[in-house]
């Protein structure tokens, strides 16, 4: 068997290996990639500004202390969303209570983590939100003997769902924009930790994470 024959044999042995992923799914996932990059850009900018000792001013569309139940949609205005250039200012994130009691969080930029944290807590969701690239060190992973409690995503298996699929559901929120929280499905003693990870500026390594954590005053506020 010469070299060409050997390589041909190797190539042919993989002939039945075929990608099963449809084009539509790839295109949909590319929107997630664009979203991650936009988040990365904002956090990189925030990091640079903070390093210079300049406070980052985030305009609040509505008082963050009002719960979503009494205020259908609210959130801070985006600081650099592309729509801003056309005169339309979209919120960096919005929190809205839906008719079924679920709470929908729509992300556009990783800005005003404290405002989002206060808003979620006011709506009865124990939450820790950080957009600094680091987790709140006071938060501990939620553990339970019930497997469902480990799996926070999906309408039938946990308190969280999104508009599209999650490619690594246990740690990475990869829906393009929306996270839906069912507060009644949160296990007792559990809260949510929402944070961004990766290297700011390195868009492809950046992602928004949502985890179940043990509720505590230091982590989730209660």
């Amino acid at each position: 068997m010469n070299d060409d024959q050997l390589m041909t044999a190797v190539r042919e042995s993989f002939a039945d290996v075929r990608s099963a992923t449809e084009l539509d799914r790839i295109v949909s996932r590319s929107q997630v990639v664009r979203f991650r990059r936009s988040v990365a850009g904002v956090v990189a900018a925030v990091g640079a500004t903070t390093a210079a000792g300049v406070a980052v001013a985030v305009s609040l569309a509505m008082p963050a202390s009002l719960p979503a139940a009494s205020l259908p949609v609210h959130g801070p205005l985006a600081t650099s969303h592309p729509a801003s250039s056309s005169g339309v200012r979209l919120a960096a994130w919005t929190v809205a209570r839906q008719t079924d009691g679920n709470i929908k969080v729509t992300f556009r930029e990783a800005a005003d983590a404290g405002g989002l944290q206060r808003t979620l807590r006011a709506d009865g969701v124990p939450a820790s939100v950080t957009f600094t690239g680091h987790q709140n060190p006071a938060c501990q992973p939620y553990t339970s003997r019930a497997r469902q409690a480990f799996w926070p995503f999906g309408p039938t298996t946990g308190p969280l769902s999104g508009r599209s699929s999650f490619h690594h559901a246990q740690s990475a929120f990869t829906s393009p924009y929306a996270l839906v929280i069912d507060p009644s499905a949160l296990p007792a003693g559990a809260g949510l930790q929402i944070w961004v990870s990766g290297t700011p500026g390195a868009a492809d390594n950046f992602q928004l994470n949502v985890n179940l954590v043990r509720a505590s005053p230091q982590c989730t506020g209660s």
Binding site: M7, A9, F14, V17, S19, S30, V32, V33, D204
Partner: protein
């Protein structure tokens, strides 16, 4: 759908299987390879205007998938284990009984190669890249590519001939 999207669609349909095979050779796990390739294609789609100008977009996808594999390993702070080659070698032959699409003996022989040699084989065999392009993708010299490929072929031949002898004796 604009012309740019159509271009990506055409590229995806033409390259997705080859890219999956190339990444599978490198990482050794079918599910992981599929996930990495999907992510890499999604990034290619998101940056198609730039990626389409690349001299070998399929090589860009494979390189991106392999980089993502390394990034995930770093994020998780634990090793992404390459399956034990013996696990594949012990499986039945590629007659449909193993449930694997690849002859487990060939997969075992490939997984027995050092990572760089597997990557060279993947790019040369499945993407049909020449030595210079393979060297560019991997960030090594052309002479290193030739050396890796020669060693890989030698090792594969030894393994597969050894298997052939075992079969003929049994």
């Amino acid at each position: 759908m604009g012309s740019q999207s159509l271009d990506f669609a055409e590229f995806y349909r033409g390259a997705r299987h080859e890219c999956l095979r190339a990444v599978l050779v490198s990482v050794g796990d079918r599910d992981m390879a599929q996930e990495l390739v999907d992510e890499a294609f999604a990034r290619a789609c998101a940056s198609w205007q730039k990626v389409s100008q690349h001299p070998a977009p399929a090589a860009w996808v494979v390189r991106t998938a392999l980089n993502e594999n390394i990034s995930r390993w770093r994020r998780r702070r634990r090793e992404v284990a390459v399956p034990d080659p013996g696990k594949f070698a012990d499986l039945p032959g590629a007659d449909g009984t193993s449930g694997s699409a690849v002859d487990p003996r060939i997969m075992a022989a490939l997984l027995g190669l050092p990572a760089r040699q597997r990557q060279v084989v993947a790019l040369r065999v499945f993407l049909d890249l020449d030595t210079e392009r393979t060297a560019e993708v991997l960030g090594v010299s052309p002479s290193a590519v030739k050396a890796h490929l020669a060693r890989a072929i030698g090792a594969l031949r030894d393994d597969l001939v050894h298997i052939g002898k075992q079969e003929s004796q049994s």
